[in-house]
């Protein structure tokens, strides 16, 4: 596993991404200076709790934000800047080079269309294929996601499929244009664990075939299973970022440490005594000065309450935003 993605195969380069929402109660900075890059075949996990900005980061890349959103920074995708791209050009990328998988497959599927129509629509729109050719490709796409009895599934409507099957259709739909980048927002959260395991295997196969994946999840187990690198977000900012092994085995940010210590684990007999992170999640409209995690942080002192720590590179390919994280040992 490499610490940094190989420069020659970079698919996505996000730099200082900032997404603000203008609301009647004030401006909410949902994503605050997020930077990362991703090479072909690489999987990046973005983790964090509700409201940390992980999903908004995805929607910003995808250009799917409501009209009160203001996006700043840069999103380079295959050498093209996505911020400010005219809607028509964005539409040409979406569904072909750039694909999205949502948490709830039912919201991504049109209940009035058969599986065949939903799959073929993409091909007819983007590639101008004939009905027969599109159908053949749709069938092949269903086979690639290991759909049982693919011919029969083509004729069915979304409500006739189970949750796991629907998510397979959504992934087949996302992958049908052989995208360079797949963005997945909690793709297995709505599924039962035995089905989740199958869908995670399926995502791993897509990444093996060269697609870069950004996976947003609240489940650190899913990250450990699937992701080469991980970014941990809190209150709109990345607080720690690096190779998955390094971050999980030697977390340096107190929030990452707290999350891993709070998480009950199946494989740990001593899991009875997990340690919660005290305090409440942050209110994005009333963030404290300095480090947003400081009110809940056991290490917080003067500087933490005054100055927001920068995300600085440390050894081992990790970057940490904490006044207390030194170069190697980390905080403890």
């Amino acid at each position: 596993m490499e610490a940094e993605p190989r420069q020659d195969r970079i698919v996505l380069n996000v730099s200082n991404l900032t997404t603000r929402f203008l609301t009647p109660r004030g401006t909410v900075t949902a994503v605050d200076g997020v930077s990362f890059s991703l090479a072909a075949g690489e999987t990046l996990g973005i983790v964090g709790e509700s409201g940390c900005g992980k999903s908004q980061t995805l929607f910003s890349i995808m250009g799917l934000l409501p009209s009160n959103a203001r996006v700043g920074g840069s999103i380079g995708f295959e050498g093209q800047e996505l911020i400010g791209l005219p809607p028509g050009e964005m539409n040409r990328l979406r569904g072909i080079r750039l694909a999205l998988v949502f948490q709830d497959p039912m919201t991504a599927l049109n209940p009035y269309l058969t599986v065949e129509r939903q799959l073929c629509e993409v091909l007819e729109y983007h590639k101008g294929l004939s009905r027969a050719d599109a159908r053949a490709e749709a069938l092949e796409a269903l086979r690639r996601v290991h759909m049982p009895e693919p011919e029969r599934q083509l004729r069915r409507y979304p409500h006739e499929l189970s949750g796991g099957m629907r998510q397979r259709v959504v992934i087949a739909m996302a992958m049908i244009g052989k995208p360079a980048l797949l963005l997945a927002d909690e793709p297995t959260t709505a599924l039962d664990v035995t089905i989740q395991a199958e869908i995670l295997d399926l995502l791993a196969e897509q990444s093996d075939s060269g697609t870069a994946i950004v996976l947003v999840t609240h489940d650190l187990g899913v990250v450990a299973r699937l992701c080469d690198r991980v970014a941990v977000m809190y209150a709109g900012r990345v607080v720690e970022q690096g190779p998955t092994r390094a971050v999980f085995h030697a977390p340096r940010h107190p929030y990452t440490q707290g999350l891993l210590a709070a998480l009950p684990r199946l494989d740990d007999l001593a899991s009875a005594g997990r340690k919660p992170i005290e305090g409440q999640p942050p209110d994005l409209l009333a963030l404290p000065p300095g480090c947003a995690f400081s009110p809940r942080c056991p290490l917080a002192d003067g500087p933490c309450r005054e100055m927001s720590p920068e995300l600085l590179s440390r050894d081992g390919g990790c970057a940490v935003a904490c006044h207390h994280a030194d170069g190697r040992g980390g905080v403890s």
Binding site: S50, R265, L269, R274, P276, P281
Partner: protein, 335 residues
């Protein structure tokens, strides 16, 4: 048979939900819970796990006497609530309370926290003087970790974790002997989830409240439970002490379930042996004959397709419903 230790005893419980329609208006039924038996002692925590549609929430509701079982009997503290007068059944509700999944939806947005937490006292102890009621509400709010000024505030002023603390306070104020926790921490973020699980564990230990802890999250159930029951399509697959079930699962379904949960450790994850299941969950309208799990079980033989396995007892209090558990290779740990 009821032993003095058993607070709750469930025997052969089945719950069907009739479904109208179908071709020619045929009468059909969803078999949500089928022939489930278990006991719960005072102060004990029994985890109930399983995937969607396994009947775990229906089981909780039947135990709370909120829905009528199709068959089977439920004893509470030696008597059968279903056979009691309505008035007596109503009074039993102070002894068995419930915490729901969605903390905000289970609170009334137009009532103050103090009024909602105190409401059970209005019902069960209407003669209680106002200042005594206020004192009890303040005490229970403090116990669940909320400050005294919460009394006059409204649910929308609190975060999800705090609302769940309010829900726990309301479940606690009548001094119950059992709380049914139906996915009580599933809607909460990890850091807050751990706070609430720790709180429930403390309450159970200190106050001797028994918990029926229903959840799809196997890791959380492991953390809080003394014993664990695994349900599949309404039937008990395995029931055992916590360490026995997680350390030495015997049923192929339990093993598949445990091996499917991703563990937050990249090294463990990449070297794990998984037990894969075949296909999707069958419809509870038309559950498979024989062992309900046979359509997805990698080990199924002819006998599994025709004959329903009984729950057979292993050493200790470990029971498993599988024809093959003796023959299957024993694997001590899911990880």
């Amino acid at each position: 048979m009821t032993t003095p230790d058993d607070l709750l005893r469930v025997e052969g419980l089945s719950v069907d939900f009739p479904v109208s329609g179908g071709l020619w208006g045929r009468k059909r039924a969803v078999h949500a819970v089928r022939d489930v038996s278990f006991t719960l002692s005072a102060g004990e925590t029994l985890g109930v796990v399983g995937e969607s549609g396994c009947g775990k929430s229906t089981l909780g509701r039947a135990v709370l006497n909120l829905i009528r079982p199709t068959a089977g009997r439920i004893w509470w503290n030696g008597s059968e609530p279903a056979a009691e007068s309505l008035e007596r059944q109503r009074l039993l509700r102070r002894e068995m309370t419930v915490i729901f999944q969605d903390p905000l939806a289970s609170l009334d947005p137009r009532m103050t926290i103090g009024a909602q937490v105190g409401e059970p006292l209005d019902i069960f102890e209407p003669a209680l003087p106002e200042d005594e009621k206020r004192r009890r509400v303040a005490a229970v709010l403090e116990r669940v970790g909320l400050s005294a000024d919460a009394v006059g505030r409204y649910p929308h002023q609190f975060s999800g974790g705090q609302c769940q603390r309010v829900g726990i306070a309301r479940a606690l104020i009548s001094n119950p002997r059992m709380i049914v926790c139906d996915e009580a921490v599933s809607a909460l973020d990890v850091s807050i989830q751990a706070q609430i699980v720790a709180l429930l564990g403390d309450l159970s230990r200190e106050m001797g409240v028994a918990l029926l802890f229903i959840s799809h999250n196997l890791a959380v159930v492991r953390q809080i439970s003394d014993r664990v029951m695994v349900l599949y399509l309404g039937k008990v697959m395995e029931i055992a002490g916590r360490d026995s079930l997680y350390g030495a699962p015997r049923h192929p379904y339990t093993r598949a379930l445990l091996s499917a949960v991703p563990v937050p450790d990249p090294d463990v994850e990449r070297n794990r042996r998984r037990f894969h299941l075949i296909g999707d969950l069958p419809s509870p309208l038309d559950p498979p004959k024989g062992c309900v799990f046979h359509t997805r079980c990698p080990h199924a033989v002819d006998r599994c397709r025709t004959e329903v396995p009984d729950l057979s007892g292993l050493e200790g209090r470990h029971h498993v419903a599988c024809h093959l558990w003796r023959e299957l290779e024993f694997s001590p740990s899911p990880a």
